[in-house]
Amino acid sequence: MRRARDPFFWGLFSAGGMLAALLLPALFLIVAVAAPLGWFGMTAHVDWLALVGNPLLRLGLFGLLFLAFFHAAHRFRYTLYDGMQLYHLDALISVLTYGVATVLTLIAAVVLATAG
């Protein structure tokens, strides 16, 4: 079981870190800077809801959020585990960190499914 756990969560962690590093700055630039300032011919009032209506975009956003949540959970788990040296609490820490990531992923799924 433990042999399967390590590559599984590390896989989510590394994919999430990679995607977040590549996409979040671009998303932030578009949503929080370019659109409000009216760059690239955008208006300050983009209809984001209509954009999210595209199922492909919704799927992409869900993938990004899911992996980014598990990236954060894994990093936080090891910050507590190695950084705070709470080795005896590893089971509890794992359940809490990955549990929160699971809950956030479900919320993201519901929000995106009902957004279009």
Binding site: R3, A4, D6, P7, W10, G11, Y78, D82
Partner: protein, 247 residues
């Protein structure tokens, strides 16, 4: 430049005193002297009982690794000049039990190194009369960097995980496992996988990266570990998605 420089040397003499102490020595300063030259001066002229390891004094044997002003370095490759004006604090490598003065007990590393089988494993061997196992320059380039390791253990001394989790197999052992895994003449990757894929194999590593920062031979153990993680993860998901395909 000063005429002399002060060295604060870690001393541990278990038969004389229970606790380690620091002895201060004033040694001549020379531009071309390494920290090891200063230690040899102390041993030859001040205190012959000072214990430490060294052999080649040219960065090849890997035996003179020590902690100088808090940093793990090869003392034969560390100029005194870099630590001026002093005092220069010389301690044994972190993470290893001290036997005496600056000499640590390296048994743990040697045992871990043996576990990853750092030698060429072949399914079929041929008779020496049939000639060598040939390799292209490209095949050699695949592992050459990892083959530069001199077992100096600076990476273990720099690794915070090795200090916290003594079971961790560690940077040099994993880099050397990769040195053979990536060798076109080797068939032992699966045997090594047994050891490396344990939690205390590659997964204890959280990519702090200090091992690669201190490596005097630019082996990049951190890179070796991350590459192995990517391969092991890809293998895991592949066998998860296509269970009918035997790995």
């Amino acid at each position: 430049m000063p005429d002399t420089v002060q060295l604060e040397v870690f001393r541990y003499r278990p038969e004389e005193e229970g606790e380690p102490v620091f002895d201060t020595f004033e040694v001549p300063y020379r531009d071309e002297w390494m920290v090891l030259d200063a230690l040899n001066h102390i041993k030859d002229h001040e205190d012959g009982t000072l214990s430490y390891r060294w052999a080649c004094r040219m960065g090849v044997c890997g035996s003179c690794g020590m902690t100088v002003n808090g940093e793990p370095v090869l003392t034969c490759a560390a100029y005194l000049e870099a630590f001026l004006p002093g005092p220069i604090r010389v301690e044994p490598l972190r993470g290893f039990p001290v036997i005496r003065d600056l000499a640590g007990d390296l048994t743990d590393f040697i045992e871990k190194l043996e576990r990853v089988k750092p030698w060429i494993i072949r399914e079929e061997t041929k008779d020496p009369s049939e000639g060598e196992y040939l390799q292209t320059p490209g095949q050699m380039a695949a592992y050459r960097r990892y083959s530069m390791c001199i077992n100096c253990m600076l990476c273990y001394a720099a690794c915070p995980i090795y200090e916290l989790e003594p079971g961790f197999i560690g940077p040099a052992a994993i880099a050397l496992a990769q040195r053979y895994n990536l060798d076109s003449r080797d068939d032992g990757a699966e045997e090594r996988h047994e050891v490396l894929s344990e939690h205390e194999g590659i997964w204890s590593c959280t990519f702090v990266g200090e091992c690669s920062a201190v490596c005097p031979k630019n082996v990049d153990p951190a890179g070796a570990i991350q590459r192995y993680k990517v391969d092991a993860t890809a293998d895991f998901f592949r066998s998860l998605l296509t269970p009918w395909r035997d790995r």
